[in-house]
């Protein structure tokens, strides 16, 4: 039986990790579970995941990509999922252009690509990189590095502002980020036009270490699943501040679409890799395809 | 030439100068004597406008009939006036890392346009003048050496060359021989006397030893605790007379203090033996 839980919180694509917003939620958690909750906030997931791997963090808040790493490297297991306040099951990846741009659809973008500059997302970003590279580029069998006039990569914030400032013609972004921009800088948001929207990306998961004592797991799960559903005004308010409705149960399968994309990305990379021998290449590709098939079967 | 009126300078705890009134005429060579701390350097620094006297004390200094400072404020054209006053400092005040020649050319800054000096494009005529000045003090051979590689006596002579290059009408020399051995002292004083004679420059030289004042300067001004206690012909300065106005401090003025080297002033070595009575 544990007395203390180290709770890691990173900024994900969909949420911020400001201590002040989280504090009421964390104290409610302490009260309800009787565990002492030590919260740690970080801007980057590497530290939290390594911490979880060595049992310095027991429960953590992740984005999809980082949750995948946590499951693979750090004995993590997804057990719950947030639900955005608007009730959607997740968020979307976008391609954005300036309001005055003549581009209005994905076709326009791909057609005029040779004269456009493209702001790609951080390679670790799900919505900024992974999703568009599959649904926009891989599906259409083009390589962004080749078709665009030039490509730079940055985080969502920079990409949004770069489009608003006309420094790049097209960029990736996501619905959460644009919503936040709409609150803080409506004028900037007004300068941005969405030309493409992806399929739904599942919302942020909560991950715990597999080897957590069952009793502790039960306490945590019980708290999360009931939070905000018992009709307490205060709890609803806390969730609202975090931008959420009550939580939903979830498991590692949440990651399957993401894994699919990740594997696909890997496959493209191996295909284009000239450094490895043809024999090795076919072998690796076969492995990847096998994994892809396994995922397809699960879905 | 130099007119000093009601000059008073108060330092934090003490009076550095106390109601000094003096006039030096054109073409004079005046010695300024006084024991250590009597205010010789302070007076010199006021004359060349590096220090200002007490505000609203009514103090005023005119050099070449132009006001250098009044009431504790530098006059607007102090910079212009300074170009007419050459100063030789007690610690030479050369720039160590520059060559001897560049140091000497600093004397021309007052008349060379800033853009020329800053881009190191001194006119050839000025360069020639600098070299001539160095030759006059016997330092032409060291023109391209760094100032820091010179011995004390040589630095002193470079400082004189700088003042010469300045073509100043007034030369202030603050204890130019304080850190030199007797032979070098003689050489430096001879050079000053020669400049005074040949170029008709007004010279004010502060000295620690009365013997030199008597030998080289017709007139002496003596300071004590910031006040003028004597102003008249140097020949009148007999030991007994000095004792009268100085009290026990006389001894120091006449025989070089043995314990000077023992004072807690490392890096400043003031023991001069009795000066050689014969000039070159």
């Amino acid at each position: 039986e544990m007395k203390e839980i180290n709770f890691g919180i990173i900024s994900t694509e969909a949420s911020m990790n400001l201590k002040t917003i989280w504090q009421p939620f964390l104290s409610d958690m302490e009260k309800a579970t009787g565990l002492k909750i030590n919260a740690f906030f970080a801007s980057d997931y590497a530290g939290i995941i390594e911490g979880m791997r060595f049992n310095k963090v027991q429960v953590a808040w992740y984005g999809n990509k980082s949750a995948m790493e946590a499951v693979d490297r750090a004995d993590g297991q997804i057990f719950a999922q947030t639900v955005p306040a608007d009730g959607e099951a997740g968020y979307y990846s976008h391609l954005i252009v300036h309001k005055d741009s003549p581009l209005n659809s994905l076709e326009d973008v791909l057609k005029n690509a040779a004269s456009l500059s493209f702001g790609n997302g951080d390679p670790n970003s799900t919505s900024g990189f992974l999703v568009p590279s599959y649904y926009v580029f891989a599906v259409n069998k083009v390589d962004p590095k080749k078709i665009f006039k030039n490509v730079v990569s940055a985080n969502h914030e920079t990409n949004a502002l770069s489009v608003a400032n006309k420094q790049v013609d097209v960029a990736t972004n996501n619905s959460e980020n644009l919503a936040r921009l709409n609150v803080t800088h409506p004028d900037k948001r007004g300068l941005i036009k969405v030309v493409w929207t992806s399929p739904l990306i599942p919302s942020d998961p909560l991950v715990w270490r597999k080897d957590l004592p069952e009793a502790t797991k039960a306490k945590l799960k019980n708290f999360l699943m009931t939070y905000g559903t018992t009709g307490k005004e205060s709890e609803v308010a806390v969730l609202k501040a975090l931008g959420w409705a009550p939580f939903k149960e979830s498991n590692n399968d949440q990651l399957l679409p993401i894994r699919q994309l990740e594997l696909f990305k890997k496959r493209v990379k191996v295909e284009g890799d000239t450094a490895i021998s043809a024999e090795e290449k076919t072998k690796t590709l076969a492995e990847i395809d096998a994994k892809l098939d396994a995922i397809k079967a699960k879905i | 030439m130099i007119q000093i009126k009601q000059l008073t300078k108060t330092f934090k705890n003490s009076k550095g100068l106390d109601n000094i009134n003096a006039t030096v005429e054109s073409g004079e060579m005046v010695a300024l004597i006084g024991s250590s701390g009597s205010g010789k350097s302070t007076l010199m620094r006021h004359i060349c406008g590096l220090m200002c006297c007490d505000t609203d004390s009514g103090g005023q200094i005119e050099v070449l009939n132009r006001i250098m400072q009044r009431d504790g404020r530098l006059s607007k054209n102090a910079r212009k006036v300074r170009t007419e006053v050459g100063v030789i400092f007690q610690q030479f005040n050369l720039v160590d890392r520059l060559s001897v020649m560049t140091n000497v050319l600093m004397g021309t800054l007052g008349r060379v346009p800033t853009w020329r000096s800053v881009s190191n494009l001194f006119p050839p005529s000025e360069r020639r003048l600098g070299m001539e000045s160095l030759a006059r003090v016997g330092m032409a051979g060291k023109a391209w050496q760094r100032a820091s590689t010179l011995s004390g006596g040589q630095q002193q002579r470079v400082a004189i060359a700088r003042a010469l290059t300045q073509r100043a009408k007034v030369l202030l020399a603050d204890e130019p021989i304080a850190s030199l051995d007797p032979e070098s002292s003689r050489i430096v004083m001879d050079i000053l006397a020669q400049i005074h004679r040949e170029d008709k420059i007004t010279v004010v030289v502060s000295l620690h030893q009365v013997e030199y004042a008597i030998r080289y300067c017709p007139r002496t001004i003596a300071l004590r605790q910031g006040r003028v206690v004597y102003d008249g012909p140097s020949t009148a300065l007999t030991p007994s007379f000095l004792k009268e106005i100085y009290g026990s401090e006389t001894e120091e003025l006449f025989s070089p203090a043995v314990d000077n080297a023992m004072r807690q002033q490392p890096g400043r070595n003031q023991n001069q033996p009795a000066p050689a009575p014969a000039a070159a």
Partner: protein, 267 residues
């Protein structure tokens, strides 16, 4: 005048009590600050020993380093170097006037106070934050990094430069002033020759630091090896991370040795 040849026996002259009191107070304050910070810094020295095994495991992941993509790393290191060169160069150019203007002994207080505060601001804010800001205005890539290093380094160097200026010997400057020189001439002939060796030494030192700092700028996409380094760390490719770090160490050491030589030439 009195030659102290006499033999004084004076067994224990009053030791300066005040100075040892000052010292004691100083130590007490240091101790108090350390004690106060203990809690805030969450010091748990025992944990370090207890779980050092974890660290060994993690460090083990770093070896053997994987140099398979060394060409890419090398290219990026060279970009990092370029970035540091220009960032430092521009900063040195700006730090000269700002350094002089923020020196007590040259500028009047109504100049040096505001200049110092501006320099403080440049220094206090991290390069990465500046990089973020410049990325927005000039777009992504090394140029934003150059600008960030420039602003931050200007703040740092202006301070170091002005400290050197404040420590100069005032006598040569007075010597030049007495010839009727203008303020600019005083600075050029009286101040700069005195501080030049120190300035060069500081600039080289900062150049080295900037090569290191440039590796962090990658976090926000401002070019150089940093981008690759972070990608590797985030992807948990520790063997590659290790290779990059080794290359960084080698190049920083090389720069270090060269600049040490250069410094010796000037000082």
């Amino acid at each position: 005048m009195t030659a102290q040849n006499t033999i004084l026996v004076d067994n224990r002259p009053p030791r300066s009590v005040q100075s040892s009191l000052t010292k004691l107070t100083g130590w007490a304050i240091v101790m108090a600050i350390l004690a106060w910070s203990w809690g805030g810094a969450d010091m748990r020295p025992m944990d370090l020993i207890k779980d050092s095994g974890n660290m060994a495991t993690l460090a083990g992941d770093f070896f053997p380093p994987n140099f398979s993509e060394w060409r890419l790393y090398l290219d990026e290191i060279i970009v990092t170097f370029h970035l540091a060169v220009w960032g430092t160069f521009l900063a040195v150019i700006c730090a000269v006037p700002f350094g002089i203007l923020s020196s007590e002994n040259i500028a009047p207080w109504w100049i040096y106070q505001p200049v110092r505060r501006v320099m403080d601001a440049c220094r206090a804010i991290n390069e990465v934050v500046f990089a973020m800001l410049f990325v927005v205005s000039v777009g992504l890539g090394p140029f934003a990094g150059v600008l960030a290093l420039w602003v931050h380094t200007t703040g740092v160097l202006a301070k170091l430069f002005s400290e050197a200026v404040e420590a100069i010997d005032p006598q040569p400057v007075e010597g030049i002033r007495a010839t009727g020189a203008t303020v600019i001439e005083e600075v050029i002939f009286g101040v700069i020759p005195q501080v030049l060796p120190l300035w060069i030494s500081y600039s080289l030192y900062r150049f080295e630091s900037n090569v290191r700092s440039a590796t962090v700028l990658g976090i926000v996409g401002a070019g150089g090896i940093g981008v690759v380094l972070w990608e590797m760390i985030r992807g948990f490719y520790f063997a590659q991370t290790c290779a990059i770090m080794i290359l960084i160490i080698i190049s920083v050491t090389a720069i270090d040795l060269v600049s040490q030589r250069l410094r010796k030439l000037f000082v």
